[in-house]
Amino acid sequence: MESSLSKRAAVIDTIPTVFGYLGIASAFGVIARSTGFSTITVIMMSIIIYAGSAQFTTISMLVAGSPIASIIFTTFMVNSRMILMSTTVAPYFKKDKLGKGILIGTLLTDESFALAMNKLNFTNDKMNFSWFNTENMISYKTWVFATAIGAILGNFIKDPKQLGLDFANVAMFIGLLYLQVNNDKSLNKLLQVIVILLTMLLTYILTMILPPSLVIIVVTLIGCALGMVIKRVFF
């Protein structure tokens, strides 16, 4: 990754994350289509909701005939981590027009957030609209395109799993996490490793006691609070 925040740099930086979107969105297309939704409905879900893995939850709750309010509430809980990510990103766009900030927020994803946080380590903590928006736009278009491919070809291609594509996103987070710890100079390395190990433990324990829709947000809240306490007491 280089220090430039140009559009060209954004395109190059974003390429590795494209595989993750391809894997998940095509799987979404295949699964949603096989559950009985029309091709158009499936594609519209990705265009309108654009909520990553939460869309799988939406599908299965729709099929189960759950009440609308509970589907919306679950989607909100699954994606409530977005509030934390947007709050982290927003200060970088305080001087920009509000419309630009809203556009960045509207298309923010776990992946685009994680990549941008990595980018900051190379740009001396600088961020701009054109880099972030280019990254987000590529992500959004890939998501919709791959959903369409999955929905249209769902009957022909078997399981996207066989290609190992389902691991693209996990591999990406392993990579981004390693690069983040390696490059982020604002937090002590040992502290970061301790927080990661605690997060692993928390994820394991909370997987046992919480419904899946709550695990990520509760882990994130407790993990960040623990990190803060440990930093103040020991570092």
Binding site: T75, I83, G105, F113, A114, T203
Partner: protein, 108 residues
């Protein structure tokens, strides 16, 4: 309620719930500045989010039992991590990850 209405309202509701979570912080922080403690709390969000996005894929809940570890993902994580240390390139890491898992499934 007709089923197309049910579907339509659900999609709109989910989009609003997701969209507001994404944009409200931008709207509010235009006017307000975060207290120092909150900024410190948020400085942990990137690594905690990245870690939990990884670990959530490793464990599957099983009612009445300990969570099951996803062995395939656990094994494939090893070459992926090595690729990260050696290459420090996200593209290489992702490709090594995909290929590792595909090979693993071919062998097993």
């Amino acid at each position: 309620m007709s089923s197309s209405n049910y579907l339509f309202l659900t999609i709109i509701g989910c989009e609003l719930a997701t969209w507001l979570s994404r944009i409200l912080p931008f709207v509010l922080l235009k006017k307000f500045t975060l207290p120092k403690a909150v900024v410190e709390f948020l400085s942990f969000v990137p690594i905690v989010i990245m870690s939990t996005m990884w670990f959530c894929n490793l464990f599957t809940a099983q009612p009445g039992q300990l969570p099951k570890a996803n062995l395939e993902y656990l094994v494939a994580a090893v070459p992926t991590f090595i690729a990260a240390v050696i290459s420090k390139s996200l593209l290489v890491i992702v490709i090594v990850g995909i290929v590792s898992l595909a090979l693993l499934r071919l062998i097993l």
